[in-house]
């Protein structure tokens, strides 16, 4: 009697123990990315990445698309922010990083030697729209200098002569301008200020920075893209910058490029990368791009956020390398880019950039 009850009690216990052991060993094997390429090009294993929050929404689409084609694969992406993502990549904690900026020269030196020369692929291009709330003005046009003066707090009312010169046909009210900027550190701010400092350096003297400068007079801070959109929606006379896909019903200003005014469309945004040169000192398989903000070609919109995926050129084993290559090839493919455009409203990269990216990704190898 006693023995039976003991057995009864022990059995589930042993079963639970066995299950725990099985699960922990499973978990452990996941961490070390046991990748086995089975026949037919089907991949399996776990791929870990971390970084940019801008890519988070697109990553959801890429993960779903890639995992449904390769049922044995798990892709994890931790949207901790570009800075933390790059830090984790440099310390070898993740196999790839998502970052709104390519690696700085200092960061390049910290790349572990086992990783080789890093491969940086621009995978996510998103136009940054200048959104505004001004009833009665449907098609606002702004030249770079006017835009810079508005955000620098030098132009304070909507009927300012500089704005009137850009909009000869519009009835501009005397409403005060409330420029809304991001109060958190953000790649969107970095790209927007980079644009201002390149095209209107005399009106925008604060450089290209992630944190909005405190020395700018006036202006309102808001947390995140949604915070900026909410502030502009609620405030008459407010103007801000945000991902074009998040603009909703708000008006988006046309920005003067060359002699014409351009709207932030996906096509116009993707084209600016074809007009740009590699970043200084880069090239080959490192596709870091110095975005040509000063372009004067028509049909090109130069205020874009370019977000990269940063990869190693050599991985410790060929299985991991195959997994990374498989995933990245899907991300830059027209399927992957279209999925991201549908999910996140990004601009699919052009075919010219895609072929460069494919070559770069193919160069990745295992040791």
């Amino acid at each position: 009697m006693n023995r039976i009850s003991l057995q009864r009690a022990a059995l589930p216990g042993i079963a639970a123990l066995a299950l725990t052991v099985a699960m922990t060993s499973c978990g452990a094997s996941n961490e070390t990315t046991s990748t086995t390429s089975s026949g037919g090009g089907d991949l399996s294993g776990t791929l870990n990445g971390a970084g940019s929050t801008a890519q988070e929404s697109a990553m959801t689409a890429w993960k779903a698309g890639f995992q449904s084609a390769n049922s044995g694969v798990t892709v994890n992406y931790d949207a901790v922010g570009s800075g933390s993502g790059v830090e984790q990549f440099l310390s070898g904690g993740v196999q790839f990083a998502g970052s709104d900026a390519y690696l700085s020269d200092d960061e390049l030196k910290k790349v572990p030697s086992s990783c080789g020369k890093p491969v940086e692929v621009p995978v996510y291009v998103s136009p940054i729209a200048v959104i505004y709330n001004l009833p009665g003005v449907d098609n606002l046009q702004l030249s770079p200098a006017t835009l810079a003066q508005i955000f620098a707090g030098k132009i304070t009312t909507w009927d300012d002569p500089a704005i009137a010169a850009d909009n000869p046909d519009a009835q501009l009210p005397s409403t005060a301008i409330t420029p809304v900027h991001r109060s958190d550190s953000s790649g969107t701010t970095a790209n927007f200020t980079d644009y201002l400092s390149q095209v209107a350096s005399s009106d925008w003297t604060f450089g290209s920075i992630e944190d909005w400068p405190k020395s700018v007079s006036g202006g309102e801070g808001a947390n995140g893209t949604s915070g900026v959109v909410a502030a502009v929606t609620n405030g008459e006379g407010a103007v801000g910058y945000a991902d074009a896909s998040q603009a909703g019903d708000l008006g988006t200003a046309s920005i003067k490029v060359g002699s014409s005014y351009e709207q932030p469309t996906a096509d116009a945004a993707a084209k600016v990368l074809d007009e740009s040169k590699p970043a200084p000192g880069r090239g080959g398989t490192d596709l870091a791009i110095a975005v040509n903000r000063t372009t004067t070609s028509s049909g090109v919109y130069p205020i874009v956020l370019v977000s990269y995926q940063i990869l190693c050129s050599t991985y410790s084993d060929s299985a991991t390398a195959d997994l990374v290559k498989g995933f990245e090839q899907y991300v830059v493919s027209s399927d992957g880019q279209d999925a991201a455009a549908k999910q996140a409203g990004s601009a699919p990269i052009t075919d010219a950039l895609r072929s460069k990216a494919q070559t770069a990704i193919d160069s990745i190898a295992g040791q």
Binding site: G83, K214, G221, G235, G237
Partner: protein, 313 residues
């Protein structure tokens, strides 16, 4: 030998249980101290590099002092404003529940107040940014127009309403339940005999409250308000979402440019910070830790000093 044997015999039953309980209680007490010391140690260790770094490395101008001081100012200003609004309101509500309200309403009313404390701060943030802020814009425009000569309302009034005054009003709603609940408990503890004695002397109900309830509850009210202050100082999400933080120092309460608070600033800047920027954020956290510590210390001191004069003895 013999005496110890006698002792052992004389030992009352259940002594082991006593000892175990004493051990558990002591270690729980010590654990609190260890956790506190651990947090302080971590903040000091991680924040120290920011204090010794060259001023140019710290974000913004003016080194670590220039970085933290506007945040301290914003934290104290928003918490102070929140308490100015919340404290009288909370004491009024507590007094109503304990002494004026019909008996059958006491339960539901207390429950509703407690429910305010159960709402997550993110929800308060959403309420602040989407509802309260836009609805306050007309008041701010009026204040800027009619009371603009005061430095607090010099404007220009924010068109989105996301000012430090809005953030403080959100904070005041958030600290209301904690201050109300504590005050209510304290008011209810006023000795019945004191109250009846005052009424027997011909006091009206308000005079009775002034003569018996307030003197008895004074120290408790101070500590309740201080606890509310603690919550307001550390509140993060609601402020980060509601406030248009630009990091300036100003007493203008209704414009678009406002000082940020320490907790909100950490939440906003941490995700994209690296290296010395993280140290600077931790250093600001250390300052917040010191401020809350000082506030609680001051509250204790006031409570201790007032106890002798209260009606309790």
């Amino acid at each position: 030998m013999a005496s110890s044997a006698a002792e052992r015999v004389a030992r009352p039953p259940g002594r082991t249980g006593d000892r175990v309980f004493k051990g558990i209680a002591t270690s729980a007490g010590v654990l609190i101290l260890l956790v506190l010391a651990g947090v302080a140690l971590f903040l000091t260790y991680e924040g120290f590099p920011a204090f010794t770094a060259a001023p140019g490395e710290i974000p913004g101008a003016g080194g670590i002092t220039g970085y933290i001081w506007p945040l301290v100012f914003g934290t104290l200003l928003s918490s102070f404003l929140a308490l100015v609004v919340a404290a009288p309101l909370a004491i009024g509500v507590a007094l109503f529940i304990s002494h004026y309200c019909p008996r059958r309403l006491v339960g539901p009313l207390g429950y509703l107040i407690d429910l305010l404390a159960a709402i997550p701060s993110v929800v308060y943030g959403l309420w602040g940014i989407f509802y309260l802020a836009p609805h306050l814009v007309p008041s701010y425009t009026w204040l800027a127009g009619h009371l603009g000569f005061l430095p607090f309302f010099s404007g220009p009034a924010s068109v989105t309403g996301r000012t430090i005054l809005t953030a403080s009003l959100v904070l005041s709603v958030m600290v209301l339940p904690i201050v109300t609940a504590l005050c209510r408990e304290i008011f209810l503890q006023t000795p019945r005999l004191h109250e009846e004695a005052a009424l027997a002397l011909g006091a009206t109900r308000w005079e009775m409250i002034r003569m018996t309830v307030f003197p008895y509850a004074r120290s408790g009210m101070v500590s309740a308000v201080m606890l509310g202050l603690g919550r307001a100082l550390g509140e993060t999400m609601a402020v980060a979402m509601t406030l248009s933080a630009t990091g300036v120092i100003t007493v203008d309460l209704i414009s678009s440019t406002n000082p940020s608070t320490i907790a909100a600033n950490i939440a906003l800047k941490f995700p994209d910070s690296t290296g010395i920027q993280v140290n600077a954020l931790v250093a600001s956290g250390l300052v917040l830790f010191a401020i809350t510590f000082a506030v609680n210390f001051a509250a204790r001191a006031i409570v201790g000093r007032r106890r002798e004069f209260s009606g309790a003895n």
